[in-house]
Symmetry: D2
Subunit: 305 residues, 4 copies
């Protein structure tokens, strides 16, 4: 994630949102939630703009990585090739969707290792000390694209993702599409870009254990002057209990809770929402706020007239 | 699940525990939670004893089913062969562990279809109408066996399960082992039989969306005179928030909540608990109640002296 | 509470909202929550209109009742005099505010007595069997009046209520005022009538034990096709976690949770909210929905042009 | 509260339990929860022993204070007389129960005033900034006495308290008694001393907004190596959801949640629990842990033989 207010963003993510700092150098901070098993799940980088630098998936095995690389190379999508990796993981294969979002896929990772006793979990089946913060683990991110149908083809081809839910607009276009590579209901969502931008981020989300963690976080955001955009409420699509805020540089971040919902059926058929159904608003009737349709990062420069 | 008090057990599961009835014939009732996608996840059968008739896993595909059948046939474990299926699923291949628990594996299933409007979910991504009841979906079951190490070999061989956590006793034996075939932390657990029985059930568990659902269920159990054995509390192993009760015939059933915890690392190494660690009790210090070590179904007849 | 759809309203309150029926005759149903100690806290009456018939307070003692009656008689407000009481309480003194809302005050009441074992609470310190429903006890009601300052004088004079919070508009008027006669943050609220009506009801509210009860109720309302007007969210004024729905006849009812908040300071000074502060919306930024300002019962007939 | 491990106790109360520091001098720290309206609700004092120095009640008015002082002076109980007050309140009248517990009653208090912006509440109806910590306000304390019946007479005579629940033992003695001076279910409890001590403290309790705050606190206590004595669970008596821990010096502290339960009936009759009922354990069947009956502060010296 890129920020043009690095210090404020880092303060937000560590002190208010509740991630912990695994490492830092001159330009970036490596962050994770208390039960993320990897060294980092969010790399925050100082930049002259906001938005997302790249998205990285971990493959299921070295063999799975090789299969994915072959598929990507054969796909015709733009390939950047191998990078040496990062502080938090090994070599990564880099490629790009047609809308300017850069992806990576890697196998070798760095498991988080507590550096001191205070960082060690009381229960050995959790990755590090319980901090009391709402985010337990990375959940998903949401990208914007001008053509969700094309984005869907990209995800199915390059990552082997399956679609769990989607929005079918009256004009024949997809309004949004939710993807997963495991039993989670989604690990990446793509919704239609309405702001004229390209390669933009809609939001990044961490999962909480309970809905109550989100209600409590709302009071923490309120107390700390954070812009709460919408929520807490429950999405109709995917049924996720949500809260969206903007970190100081303007990137949208979410806290979400899916309860016990998982996609356990191997033959799950995508749930298709019509435009009419979507216009009913969120699950409990909240009308979707206007900025939710238009705000992405980086912002799109206003055109001269 | 077998019961020698069929009417009382059925009343418990539908009116108190909160499952819904999909079908019934002279000897059995087919039950499910409101978001289970299959026709049934618990078949309750009138019998002269309690315990479990069989355990059934759904394969990931027809090909996966064929691979499993080959592996099981080659394993040397007792094979019963194909059955024609059940009201809720198609042909199933039946086999048995060395301790007398019967397993089935099948691919063809019957998706739950609401029969009337009142059964239809308000949100199309859930399987049926929200009833307000605590159980959202089947979660796991726990069997007892005299040799957990041998049971582990059975599960890895026949079902391709992986172990996520286990208890290593000082005497070199495994005290318990937790298995999964997906991203859930476990779908089946096996703990050591201390009561002299064979092929016994320890408990069956449904997952709730929130921990609060379990606290509320505790008051419902209290009000309805259900025997609450232990909980609500949090397990050290797997970190699950739990509540155990005995249905009228004596079978132990659980409500559990794992929060946002999943096993997402493809190279997850089993968490190993020592005997000393286990003797500390549950996560927040509750000492494990004696019956939890000894009560299983069916009960073991007291020996004559 | 008056309803011109009696059967539907009664079905809503008992089957969906979660009150229990204490008694019924040809025109009315006497309802209560599972931990209300009195025979009834809501009397639902068949009528040709909606809104509220009267509001009743119980005095703290026979002497307190006598003192109140004297104060009311001396106040100059409209006095109806003594009534013989009701199925649920003894003689009541009836009077009226300047806006057409009828009030009663009484001392003798009928404690709820379970009529059968299934209605008896498992814990003897609760009034009746735990039903699992969200409402635990009556909390407050909200009336509309054309002059909140005058309504405040009425409440202080007649009931000895104290003000815990209020809204001071830029035009010098009070926009709303919250009253209590005990340690609850409020038992009655009055907000300014903007719809041209008189003697109207804004809403009636029951308290839930936990915020989670309200989130769960939202799913129950959704499943049962109830009109959810706004929420779940947190009020800035009084900090109450709320959910507003309309029962079938159009009366607004709320579920609310105040957490551990009480007014324990004997010298509590009213919290005064400015118009600017109120325009910020609810605690977590939700804009107040338009109908919340205009919808009351009975509805005001549209004027001819 | 007295502590012989002042630094550790202060660290516990501020960093782990979640109180905030209002003031400190060489021997004491003045602490409060984030929504306590007074300057302090817990004064922690360096001492050579543990236990309680004194208990202080605030009167409802100057007149109420005068009435109480007259009643206490006429009661025959030991009177210490007026003190000049404390950093947190004005002149206090000091007296003592027959078991060595010192009480104070005062009217003039110091309302908490935020000293800097970060301490100021985002919502003006709460006393200070929401810290995210579990304790919202002081709730009650529990003292031990050799004769609960006599202690009851003391409370009714000196403080005008009313009894909401009590335990009637088979031997004719009271096993415990719960008192209140307002609508809370209790502000002070007294249970029978079984350890041979005198003037001892059983525990001090703060109230949380939700039960979930207590479950989350349990994980924080676990992570910080705090001794969790019992809970989270629900008391049968008063129905309070509880968690008991020992602060580093050994004083027992509780977090508790009563949901929406209040004593609103002016003619509430004490709920009387028999010895048989009490032996059933807590609400959901947890057996009361042995130390809960014996551990108080200060500890009683073991006798020489």
């Amino acid at each position: 994630m890129l920020t043009d207010r690095f210090d404020e963003s880092l303060d937000f993510f560590t002190r208010v949102y509740g991630l912990t700092l695994s490492g830092q150098d001159e330009t970036s901070a490596w962050l994770r939630a208390w039960d993320d098993y990897e060294f980092h799940t969010l790399k925050l980088t100082r930049s002259d703009r906001t938005g997302i630098g790249h998205v990285a998936y971990r493959a299921a095995s070295p063999e799975a990585l090789a299969r994915r690389v072959s598929a990507i190379e054969a796909s015709g999508y733009l390939v950047h090739g191998w990078t040496e990796g990062d502080m938090g993981h090994g070599p990564a294969f880099r490629f790009e969707d047609p809308f300017g979002h850069v992806f990576e896929i890697y196998w070798e990772t760095r498991w988080y290792e507590p550096q001191q006793d205070a960082e060690r979990a009381a229960l050995k089946n959790t990755a590090s000390a319980f901090t009391g913060a709402a985010p337990r683990r990375i959940d998903h991110l949401n990208l914007l694209s001008e053509d969700v149908t094309e984005f869907r083809r990209f995800m199915e081809t390059c990552l082997g993702s399956r679609v769990t839910e989607m929005i079918q607009l009256d004009n024949g276009r997809l309004g949004g599409c939710w993807f997963t590579v495991n039993n989670k209901t989604y690990d990446l969502a793509c919704t239609e870009e309405h702001g004229g931008g390209s390669g933009r981020l809609h939001h990044v989300t961490y999962a909480t254990d309970q809905r109550e963690d989100i209600l409590r976080a709302a009071d923490i955001f309120l107390q700390n002057g954070v812009h709460i955009e919408t929520g807490p409420h429950k999405h109709a699509v995917q049924g996720t209990f949500f809260l969206y805020v903007w970190e100081p540089a303007g990137n949208r971040v979410e806290l979400a809770n899916s309860g016990a919902r998982l996609i356990l059926a191997p033959d799950w058929q995508p749930v298709v929402w019509t435009q009419t159904e979507r216009m009913k608003g969120q699950a409990w009737g909240l009308k979707t706020i206007e900025t939710f349709h238009t705000h992405g990062t980086p912002p799109v420069p206003k055109k001269e007239h």
